[in-house]
């Protein structure tokens, strides 16, 4: 029996999805629909945009206005849609490679503008779709098909990157922490400005195999064990901090939103028209 949420928000006719067994993409996508449902958004008014990658296939399964674009460019397309029609609720789904490698420039600029778009990153620390090459979030020393001797790069912290670039809401959770994920999605969508939710995810097929991380279940278990709330982390004794990753809300402030500011320009010009 498919649940009510799935019935309402998924394009059942397009299932089964292309994702591997054990992949966390389904969990995260479903959590997004739960957040949208709890917020009571009008389905016709929701636009879900993506780039290219395994995660970026999610919009095709979702019953909204959905746009699957080019690799890394989702935020630029989304910016056009949002500016053209600010009434729309615009959400971007992106992979770590999509949003922080090829699309990194668009990410920092969308964040800087504080345009009202919610970005959800499925961060599996790898290029899933192309078969396991290292991404900008692959941990140092981890393996990928293009890092067969171990990755020497230092990884990006996407949530902090977005916060530093100007996002007014930025948080990180994991695919394991479904309740928190739904809450963060709701808060992010409700924030009038650029919002980032980075979801630590898993790719058992490539990342898992290359790094001997075990099955999907074991990798989910690792998300549970390795991620710790940033407040709780502070209280941990030094020796226990090793290997822990932070989750939580990194930024939640209010600043003028881009499309609203643009509307002010329009209003000022049009109001002043009579005096010209």
């Amino acid at each position: 029996m498919t649940s009510e949420i799935v019935q309402k928000y998924f394009r059942i006719e397009n299932l089964p999805h292309i994702w591997c067994p054990g992949c966390s993409n389904g969990v995260v996508t479903r959590a997004l629909t739960m957040a949208i449902d709890e917020l009571g958004l009008d389905q016709d008014n929701v636009v879900v945009v993506s780039g290219i990658g395994c995660s970026s296939r999610a919009p095709g399964y979702l019953d909204f206005n959905t746009l699957h674009t080019t690799h890394g460019r989702g935020l630029a397309f989304a910016t056009g849609i949002k500016l053209a029609n600010p009434k729309l609720d615009v959400i971007l789904i992106a992979g770590d490679g999509d949003v922080s490698a090829i699309g990194g420039n668009h990410l920092i600029h969308a964040a800087r503008r504080n345009i009202d778009i919610t970005t959800i990153v499925f961060n599996n620390n790898i290029y899933g779709m192309t078969g396991g090459q290292y991404s900008p979030t692959t941990p140092t020393a981890a393996k990928g098909t293009t890092a067969p001797h171990g990755n020497i790069d230092k990884p990006f912290d996407i949530a902090q990157l977005a916060a530093a670039a100007g996002a007014t809401y930025s948080s990180r959770t994991t695919a394991y922490h479904v309740n928190q994920m739904v809450k963060y999605f709701k808060d992010a969508i409700s924030n009038k400005g650029f919002s980032m939710v980075e979801v630590a995810s898993i790719c058992p097929t490539y990342y898992g195999r290359k790094n001997k991380s075990g099955s999907g279940v074991q990798m989910m278990q690792a998300l549970k064990n390795d991620f710790i709330d940033k407040m709780a982390y502070e209280k941990l004794p030094e020796e226990k901090k090793e290997g822990k990753h932070l989750m939580g809300v990194f930024k939640n402030i209010t600043l003028p939103e881009y499309t609203a500011e643009y509307q002010r320009v329009i209003d000022a010009l049009q109001g002043g028209e009579n005096n010209e």
Partner: protein, 378 residues
């Protein structure tokens, strides 16, 4: 009462004026010489009419945002030159396969690479057709004057809307920056075409071609149709399809919607061609030089005419073929090392001998050079 609205303006300025008259409501781009005025004027004018302008972080984002604007229902434009045109290529292909109306202005400058930033060239003619990967059809128009920039920009928006396709306005540094008097038509005197949208409550499939339509109707996002757009091959539903049969049908439809409507899309101009025994084919600002040269050659008793394609892609195949049958020899004059000449050779075949006159060092061709070349080969 009908006092003519005569204005002195630059080609780039005329382009923006025309875009606004055609219904442009959205512009996204990134500054680059010699196209920058297009962004500056759009930034100045669009918010006054409730439209939107945004300067994006690069040209890729510029075209992506413009496509987004179009998907949200606004007539959209982006503008660039040389290096920026290269950056836009991937998303030109996206707009082609997803069938998104969009106008892309490329004010051509000398290349490759940063090349000759402030000098004219016509080196992007082949790139306009084949710059993005994969098979597709494209429309590209090239004006020779400020007035024609105005007319062509209106036509570009109309064609984009009518055929759900990206349309490239291929102008150049000379036309973009020169100032000429133009007559701005009354809004009621020009034909404006708006994309067809599905009616309320219509059983809508985003890529289904209805009887009597050239392209599928296009619903703006947010209007209640909830459909999917992708750059993957897709079927009538808009969802990806791996079927080779479907890919074949779709690709052929995408190409034929343009190739089969040449009658409507192709514009050209002829000068002293009626009794010509020799033809010079030239477009954009170079055609002005050639026109001048043709007059000189006629005065000297040579039966030379000018054939000027205004629509570069799809090419005026039928008319160029006829030129080839009419004359013995053809010179193709263009500001590049030999691009459109290849298209002319392909069409004309052995009907006439084809020569090339061109260079790409930033200097425009002079009438005397055209005259000399004509005397040499004709």
């Amino acid at each position: 009462m009908s006092k003519k609205n005569i204005k002195l303006m630059q080609g780039n300025e005329a382009c923006v004026e025309a875009a606004l008259m055609a219904g442009m409501k959205f512009f996204a781009g990134y500054p680059i010489t010699p196209s920058t005025e297009l962004a500056e004027l759009s930034a100045e004018k669009l918010p006054r009419i409730g439209g939107k302008f945004i300067q994006m972080e690069d040209e890729i984002a510029g075209i992506a945002a413009a496509i987004g604007g179009s998907i949200a229902g606004l007539k959209s434009m982006t503008a660039t030159s040389g290096p920026g045109f290269s950056l836009k290529q991937e998303n030109i292909g996206y707009a082609a396969i997803a069938e998104i109306p969009l106008v892309i202005v490329n004010v051509m400058r000398g290349g490759p690479s940063t090349g000759l930033p402030t000098s004219p060239a016509q080196g992007d003619v082949m790139q306009a057709k084949w710059g993005t990967h994969g098979d597709h059809a494209i429309i590209a128009l090239s004006p020779q004057s400020v007035m024609e920039t105005f007319d062509i920009t209106i036509k570009a928006f109309n064609l984009a809307e009518k055929y759900r396709t990206p349309v490239i306005v291929l102008t150049d540094e000379v036309v973009g920056h020169m100032r000429e008097k133009i007559e701005i038509p009354e809004p009621g005197d020009i034909e404006i075409f708006d994309r067809k949208v599905p009616g309320p409550g219509e059983d809508y499939l985003p890529y289904r071609l209805e009887e009597g339509d050239i392209v599928p109707k296009m619903a703006p996002f947010g209007a209640g149709y909830r459909y999917h757009i992708t750059g993957l091959f897709h079927d009538e539903t808009g969802f990806p399809s791996n079927s080779t049969d479907n890919a074949d049908i779709m690709l052929k439809r995408m190409i034929s919607k343009i190739e089969d409507n040449r009658e409507d899309i192709v514009m050209y101009d002829e000068f002293m061609m009626e009794d010509a025994e020799y033809a010079i084919i030239s477009y954009g600002s170079t055609a002005r030089t050639v026109r001048n040269a043709v007059k000189t050659l006629r005065e000297q008793g040579m039966k030379v005419g000018l054939f000027r394609p205004i629509t570069i892609w799809p090419s005026a195949e039928k008319e160029i073929k006829a030129v080839g049958r009419q004359v013995k020899k053809i010179i193709v004059a263009e500001m590049n090392m030999g691009q459109y000449v290849q298209e002319i050779e392909r069409i004309v075949k052995s009907d006439a001998e084809v020569f090339h006159l061109g260079r790409a060092n930033g200097e425009v061709l002079m009438p005397i050079e055209v005259v000399q070349k004509a005397k040499e080969v004709f």
